[in-house]
């Protein structure tokens, strides 16, 4: 996973509540067998007409937002389906940071698996960031998001922060607990033998 340290770039303000993962990446793109290539389908139904032509009014079809690396949005961002295709699509488009008042649980986890930083800030702060003319800078070490005329500090769990800063392989980390896992399995076999799936 690519580490996340600092990021300076264009922030696209898609300010609405409950942006769901169906909206981020609709079902017809979930038949893919790979993680890459979903960026052009990000927000597909807001971005293209039924014939596949770009809708010129939509934010991500306008300059400078075509090259946005930060997305500003409303509360409960990423609600709905567990599809990791949602963060894959954001990442493939170029978005490395989503700033919203709150996030849905599974999407939030999926961001960290993909080197995307989800930042929680109050809606009023996000409105100020959206009003900035130039690019925004996100500094994970300092836990700040700032523009030319305003800046805000955000909270993040230390373990989450470390994961992103180091671009940690989470599976490798859990593998370091192999002895604990083996001890647990041995104990469970003795204490709860009915849990063994042996009937097949």
């Amino acid at each position: 996973m690519q580490p996340f340290t600092t990021l300076t770039g264009t922030a696209a303000p898609l300010i609405r509540a409950n942006v769901d993962t169906d909206l981020i990446i609709p079902k017809q793109f979930l038949t893919t067998l790979v993680r890459s290539g979903l960026g052009r389908h990000l927000f597909h139904e807001l971005r293209y007409d039924p014939a596949g032509q770009e809708l010129p009014d939509f934010l991500l079809n306008r300059e400078p937002y075509r090259k946005a690396t930060i997305l500003l949005s409303g509360p409960n961002f990423g609600c709905g389906s567990s599809r990791e295709h949602a963060p894959w699509a954001l990442l493939d488009f170029g978005i490395r940071c989503v700033v919203a008042p709150s996030f849905a649980d599974i999407f939030f986890n999926n961001c960290f698996s993909n080197g995307i930083l989800p930042v929680s800030l109050p809606a009023e702060s996000i409105a100020q960031l959206a009003a900035e003319e130039g690019p925004l800078t996100v500094d994970l070490s300092a836990q700040t998001v700032s523009g030319a005329s305003c800046g805000f500090r955000f909270e993040i769990e230390p373990a989450r922060k470390a994961t992103l800063l180091e671009g940690m392989d989470e599976i490798k980390r859990s593998e370091a607990n192999l002895a604990d896992i083996e001890a647990y399995e041995a104990r469970r076999r003795a204490e709860a033998p009915w849990l063994e799936v042996s009937q097949r």
Binding site: S82, I181, R188, W194
Partner: protein, 469 residues
């Protein structure tokens, strides 16, 4: 030991290690795998040279994009076919138990897991699907995960987790006639909002929950994710044990007795502290219908489409206006005056035998209204067989419903069961998001009885009136 909630107990039993950074490593007992969210996980394992730790703890089945008609003739959609073939190749290569597409046991993962006795009380159950919360009906800690986490579980049989908050949902009073678990779930979500349970595991309590069958409890827990919760839980009891007993993968003989003895300890202690409590009053509950593009936008069948002018603030007004525009609805319209062109009865929310019985009870002796296309999609091949043994298929077919093969179908429209733009659907599924059932489609979430009632009336109608007739 201090008093604990059911969630605390399951958590404690699955704690493998607490790490220096404060995160916990939790053991995963059961893993359900389907074709859509697994290919990249298998690929990741192979690329990293990792093996599956416990392939036998997985149950895999294709459900999301399978055709629901003539599947014996093969899969016409090439991308769907390739994804199912990828699943078949992966499970073969890694020795993962798999239920083939043409097997009677095939169906939606969340119907199949319980049906096979794979889902057991007190276990941890994960799946790359948000509606994994369904299995909480058994008193299992069950939640949806992303594909990277699918890979993580395959490799280590664990997941790094943070402890959720305990939220008790107390349903007060008994369910009125002609309302059911779906109405309870929609009422709750209408009350707390679609993010109301974020960061929490919700335990459903109260006499109405105790009175629910396992099918009803699964419907209720299924919708937990629509309230934003990590998981939903119902403490296991005799209803649970009677359902699990004798299922193919359930423990047998002495192991069964030992299991039940343990499962009886899986209830929140009377003095256990919950971080939050929500009370839902079921007295006077009417059948529920959603009007908007989020499950929280729901009202009684006797209600009306809301007026954005009465929104609490500008943001809410704007959101309601956008929803009404998408849904093609005028403020103040009585719900019963809204005409429909499609009906979908099925999904992991309402595709089990009781749901089909409930819908068939309304369809019996009636006809689907002109201009309405109505689909019945059983949740699994075993549900389909059972329904056919009871003659439900004939009731549906005689009334003009389509009787199809099992799968997720029109809940998310990954296969060809998709709605055209502007088509309005009474759906027993779980999400009414923009475009969920097809670009521009308009979804209203209802119970199976209400969906069948809408099918025969051609518009939403109070199912209680049909039952009086």
């Amino acid at each position: 030991m201090s008093p604990r909630t059911l969630y605390d107990k399951i958590w404690d039993e699955h704690l493998v290690a607490t790490r220096a950074d404060g995160t916990s490593l939790i053991y995963i007992d059961r893993h359900l795998v389907h074709e859509v969210t697994s290919p990249q996980a298998f690929e990741g394992l192979v690329l990293a040279g990792r093996a599956l730790r416990r392939p036998g703890n997985i149950l895999s089945v294709a459900d999301h994009n399978v055709p629901t008609a003539d599947r014996e003739k093969g899969i016409a959609d090439e991308t769907c076919r390739l994804q199912i073939e990828a699943l078949e190749a992966n499970v073969e290569a890694h020795g993962v138990p798999y239920i083939p597409l043409l097997d009677d046991r095939q169906g939606i993962v969340h119907v199949v897991g319980p049906e096979q006795g794979f889902t057991l009380p007190g276990t941890t159950v994960v799946c790359g699907d948000s509606h994994t919360s369904t299995h909480g009906a058994f008193g299992a800690l069950a939640f949806g995960i992303g594909t990277s986490e699918v890979e993580h579980v395959m490799a280590t049989q664990t997941l790094p987790q943070r402890r959720s908050k305990n939220l008790r949902v107390r349903f007060e009073g008994a369910l009125p006639t002609s309302t059911g678990a779906k109405d309870m779930a929609l009422r709750l979500i209408g009350q707390i909002g679609t993010a109301g349970g974020t960061g929490c595991v919700m335990e459903y309590t109260g006499p109405a929950v105790r009175a629910l069958t396992m099918e009803g409890r699964m419907t209720l827990c299924n919708m937990s994710i629509e309230g934003g919760a990590r998981a939903g839980l119902v403490a296991p009891d005799d209803t649970t044990f009677a359902y699990v007993a004798g299922r193919p993968l359930a423990p047998k003989a002495a192991l069964w007795d030992a299991a039940v003895a343990h499962w009886r300890t899986l209830a929140s202690d009377p003095e256990a502290a919950f971080d939050r409590e929500v009370v839902v009053d079921l007295r006077g509950l009417a059948p529920q219908v959603t009007w908007g593009t989020s499950p929280q936008w729901v009202t009684d069948i006797t209600g009306r489409v809301p007026d954005p002018a009465q929104a609490r603030n500008a943001e809410e007004r704007e959101a309601i206006l956008r929803a009404l525009d998408y849904m093609g609805l005028e403020p103040g319209t009585p719900m019963e005056a809204i005409g429909i062109q499609a009906v979908f009865i099925g999904s992991c929310t309402n595709g089990r035998i009781e749901d089909l019985r409930e819908a068939a009870g309304i369809a019996r002796g009636r006809k689907v209204a002109q201009g309405v296309r109505a689909l019945v999609v059983p949740g699994s091949g075993l549900v389909k067989k059972q329904a056919e043994a009871e003659g439900l298929d004939r009731i549906f077919l005689e009334a003009g419903f389509e009787w199809r093969q099992p799968g997720c179908s029109m809940c998310l429209g990954m296969n060809e069961d998709r709605l055209e733009a502007g088509v309005r659907c009474a759906s027993t599924s779980n999400r009414n998001f923009e475009g969920r059932q097809g670009r521009g489609s308009r979804t209203h979430l209802v119970s199976p009885a209400m969906a069948a009632a809408a099918a025969v009336a051609g518009h939403f109608t109070d199912v209680r009136r049909l039952l009086e007739a």
